[in-house]
Symmetry: C2
Subunit: 349 residues, 2 copies
């Protein structure tokens, strides 16, 4: 079956220079995929492929455009037109490296949230020591969360993890500062009760509380937290990985002897680098919308952007949207306690 | 001038087997230091040193003892007696590897908080890419914080950083999910305003908002956050560092060729390991009390526990307590908005 992705080719720090190269690699590796290349025709016309066609869009949302500009001024932006393709059924998922705040706002405006979900969340798979990925959400779309939101994130994350892996019952951990149920803030304690109830009702596979170190240990398949904590956690991890990589490089380039050691160790260092290469994990899912939208890191290079395409493709072809809806339908009695709240600021990267 | 530390020799996962070895190394390296070895005389009597003497305590707070047990039942615990030495002026600081919750509760009960400070905080120096340490607080003593608490943490952290380094005006960052002042929760936004006011008044050197990656970059000397975020951040970092270390080890031990590379690279790998060795950063300060208390990681080995002793020693001899009080006196107009709130749960490690 053909799966079609709508690609915002103009977004991100590098635009078509990076996105088009990634699109070609992606098409070569996925013979059943089709792409809609959204953007300025002049910038995209050089790209020829039997399974790709250009969808024109005259504007571009800049990385520093406020959300209001993306929503109200640039109505023909490549980001918006890409999402529109999903809305109209022309594509099964949209992918953009544009600014997160604008993407979330546009996706929410164009696609709307799924019934039973108040707020979309951003989910991302982080590598873990078990060799798999730990899906963490929310990563910055929702600064203040109620226990109901955390339950919704757990349902959304379970749908995503089951679509991207073979596991129909992925385990969910609630991020807390201690394993004991009595730990944490009031919201976290109430969320724990809700999640336990959802676990008992068979709506999800609730493991219990987890702590920060469990994310990279891979204790659970999914870790649920509010967007403030998730965003700090993600960016701290980026900072630490970069520092450790820098230290390793410094030690191996300290003098001629250590440089010789580096030469001898080259294959090992390459293998190591590949394992911790954040580009291989690029592609965050915007969950809870009536359509699939994936966000690539703004600074993504060809390899990283291709990964985001692959992630969106896998999610679309494994019917992530249906899975989300099925899980929400199943959990409806528990989610019924949900009340609509005003939208909150979204982060940009 | 002689500086005296009271050491809870019974606390931690290993007790006197580790703490006594660390004490000896510490005494050898610090000819002006004296130690009060607090604990069961039978366990400590083998230790002889002209600058150490045993202070008997008949009980031990177990790593899993609830706070209430430490506070109300075990009134002659080594942890409590060590803190008591500080209260009575017998020692300038106490050091324990016992459970964090009990230590914080006892320290608060015995020593009380400094005027102007509602809640003590836990501060820790994390290594940064600049080769220094970023002091982060709170790391888990306070789950929910108001903007006033975050201001208090900034004042406390500034006193600690100035005592442990030569820098009289260490910079303070407010941990947030974006650099812009409009980002973050309501509490964070209000804290930003307070901190800006404190910066303008010359009470502290406020840099502005920082993000997770700035901690390990070393963008500011101090990073302020609530205890939930701080605890998650710290434990996530431990988990990530451990995963990366594990990957590196796996790659270097994969086959005979990679093992040969490891052999050639041994000095480099040792130098690297030393730089990222978390034991070198052991020793968290409990700040905001009328006396100095330092917390070692429960699983600390000899080297790590010695580091905690060194940290406590440096803080004591550079008059951390006076610095705290001077900074609080200076910031009193801003801190005056503070209202007392009920104590919150503390974490244990």
């Amino acid at each position: 079956m053909t799966t079609i992705l709508a690609v915002d080719c103009m977004g991100g720090d590098h635009g078509p220079r990076v996105t088009l190269v990634a699109c070609r690699h992606f098409l070569d590796a996925h013979p059943e995929a089709q792409l809609l290349l959204v953007g300025a025709p002049a910038a995209l016309e050089s790209f020829h492929h039997p399974r790709a066609r250009v969808v024109p869009a005259s504007e571009v949302v800049a990385m520093d455009d406020p959300v209001e500009v993306a929503l109200r001024k640039k109505k023909d932006s490549s980001m918006r037109v890409a999402i529109q393709q999903v809305k109209e059924g022309q594509a099964q998922a949209a992918v953009s490296a544009g600014n997160t705040g604008a993407l979330m706002a546009l996706a929410r405006y164009v696609l709307k949230t799924v019934e039973g979900i108040d707020r979309p969340a951003i989910a991302y798979g982080l590598p873990n020591a078990k060799g798999g990925a730990t899906t963490v959400l929310d990563l910055g779309a929702n600064v203040d969360c109620t226990e109901q939101h955390l339950l919704q994130f757990a349902v959304l994350g379970s749908a995503l993890a089951s679509a991207l892996t073979e596991n129909d019952s992925p385990s969910v951990g609630l991020l807390n500062i201690g394993e004991e149920a009595i730990k944490g803030s009031e919201v976290i304690k109430k969320a724990g009760e809700l999640l336990r109830a959802a676990g008992s009702a068979g709506d999800l596979n609730f493991y219990g509380n987890v702590e920060g170190n469990d994310i990279f240990k891979g204790t659970t398949d999914i870790v649920v937290c509010d967007g403030f904590v998730g965003n700090v956690m993600l960016k701290t991890s980026e900072g630490l990985a970069s520092m450790i990589g820098g230290f390793l490089k410094e030690e191996f380039t300290r003098n001629p002897l250590t440089k010789l050691a580096a030469l001898v160790s080259l294959p090992v260092l390459h293998a190591f680098k590949k394992r911790v290469d954040h580009r291989r994990y690029n592609g965050a899912a915007l969950l809870g919308l009536r359509g699939l939208v994936f966000k690539s890191h703004g600074s993504a290079d060809e390899l990283a952007f291709e990964q985001a395409l692959v992630r969106a493709y896998d999610a679309a072809r494994h019917n992530l949207l249906d899975r989300v809806q099925a899980r929400i339908a199943h959990a409806r009695p528990l989610l019924a306690g949900t009340t609509e709240v005003p939208p909150l600021p979204v982060t940009t990267d």
